[in-house]
């Protein structure tokens, strides 16, 4: 199973890097540009805030979703569109290897790049704004970043694979995913604004009184449940016959 999974990951990475022509031209938009943006430009602009603000949690939790949305949408819808899916399904690869091979390839990209971005960001902040002092995320923030970005990556992968399994085209899959991401982003922001003033004050008070850690914990638990449900749903949805008939 692991060998089969790694075979799929190998193919997915090759295709991912070659999607813009060659490996060199593929690395630029898929690896270099996101890293410069996240690991150099933003930390440079934000300075010490980059490592001290709890906003870092939100940034790094969202990052895998933004990085992975396009790629994961392509996973099955792309194979279907390019007429490679049926040949793949007619091979000896087990269902789980195909499904998790695709998921792992994209998660390794999204989460890997996020962690690389976190590390580069720290380097940039220390080089530009350190002034002899070693700037680092607090232990809680570090754990939060690691956990939320990991769970964010699986959220993107689970939701993306489900959408991609159902979508007729890559474009359709990408549109549905982007819409879902936008809703996830805007509903909480504008939803909070719609709450009565006293509720908002109560929430702010709870957060200020040390409830932030608890909130993060609640988010982590919720994301774990949602991610697991999405992956189970994708496993149930992955049926060779169903995929062939959609082709």
């Amino acid at each position: 199973m692991i060998t089969d999974l790694l075979t799929m990951v190998w193919k997915e990475w090759k295709e991912m890097l070659l999607q813009h022509g060659g490996i060199r031209s593929g690395i630029l938009p898929t690896v270099i540009i996101p890293l410069i943006l996240l690991g150099v430009m933003l930390p440079w602009q934000m300075g010490r805030e980059w490592v001290e603000s709890p906003l870092a949690l939100a940034v790094w939790a969202w990052m895998p979703l933004m990085l992975m949305a396009g790629l994961i949408a392509d996973s099955f819808a792309g194979e279907r569109e390019r007429h490679t899916l049926e040949t793949l399904l007619a091979s000896r690869l087990p269902d789980r290897a195909i499904l998790f091979g695709k998921v792992c390839a994209v998660v390794s990209y999204g989460w890997g790049l996020t962690i690389l971005g976190v590390s580069m960001g720290l380097l940039t902040v220390n080089l530009v704004h350190g002034r002899g002092e070693f700037l680092l995320y607090s232990r809680k923030l570090t754990l939060g970043i690691l956990a939320l970005s990991w769970l964010g990556a699986w959220l993107a992968a689970g939701a993306g694979v489900l959408v991609s399994l159902r979508a007729a085209t890559v474009r359709q899959a990408q549109q549905v995913l982007m819409l879902a991401i936008m809703l996830l982003l805007f509903v909480p922001v504008y939803g909070v604004k719609l709450l009565p003033a006293e509720w908002r004050a109560q929430i702010a008070g709870t957060l200020a009184a040390g409830g932030a850690a608890r909130l993060v914990l609640v988010i982590i638990v919720t994301l774990t449940v949602v991610d697991t449900s999405l992956i189970i749903a994708a496993m149930a949805r992955f049926r060779r016959a169903r995929l062939i008939l959609k082709d």
């Binding site: 090759k14 295709e15 070659l18 490679t84 049926e86 007619a90 091979s91 000896r92 016959a241």
Partner: protein
Amino acid sequence: MSNIAIRTEKLTRDFGQIRAVDDLSLEIPAGIVFGFLGPNGSGKTTTIRLLLGLLDPARGRAEVFGLDTRTRADEIRERCGALLEHAGLYERLSAEDNLEFYGRIWRLSAADRKARTKELLTHLGLWERRGEKVAGWSRGMKQKLAVARSLLHRPSLIFLDEPTAGLDPMAAAALRDDLLSLAVREGVTIFLTTHNLTEAEKLCALVGVIRAGRLLAVGRPDQLQAKAGGHQAVILGRGFSERALASLRERTEVAAATLQDGRLVIDLNREVEIAPLIGLLVNSGAQVEEARKGKASLEEVFMSLMEEEK
């Protein structure tokens, strides 16, 4: 071990109101080239999908190497190679990477993958271009690569859906030779769908004709030719009058005599000398330039089966 590669019993599959495969019962011995002939939409591809366990039958059952397609599809796919309706190549990858990927899928060792890739690509004239991305290739080159991919892991059974489509005549002939040698020397069973009836006649030891999901006929090409009336005489010339045709039709050895595209085609009830028939034509004033005696081609058999079903 049974020497039957494929066995189906009343295999049926519906898509909504449409019956794609209808009560298909078939036995294909191992080690032969089986030709599955039928017009577009007749159920050939659905049959392949059922045999590979990619679809479940609505009724009936199918076995490949004695393995039930419903319950042991994974084991069946383990032993099969397939070139389906589409070449199914990853166009962003090079030819070598495409074969590398499928070589890994079939767990060939690194050395075997390398050697087999070189052997197949060299044989198909693609070795020099192995590093190029497939996207830039012609349809024929892609088809050759897809054939190489289906043979890569030395499967016991290969499903080939129109394998010579898009190949130039030389490449098509070379592929036909390869398929025959595979079947004969290595005991590989080949399940071939094709619209090219001449190809089927040359390659196939057994032929099945399907239309609207129903198997109309199955047998060796010569058996089908014999069933379809078989013996025929084709006369080229001028002045084939209605009176001459009527005289021909009165003879007991003649089943039918028709003018087709200026040729006189005489269907015979049995193998007979055709000199008396030519004499009759000449005496009735016809000018005979050429006369050929032979069996109906597989194409004619196919056409007559299609006509019967209309």
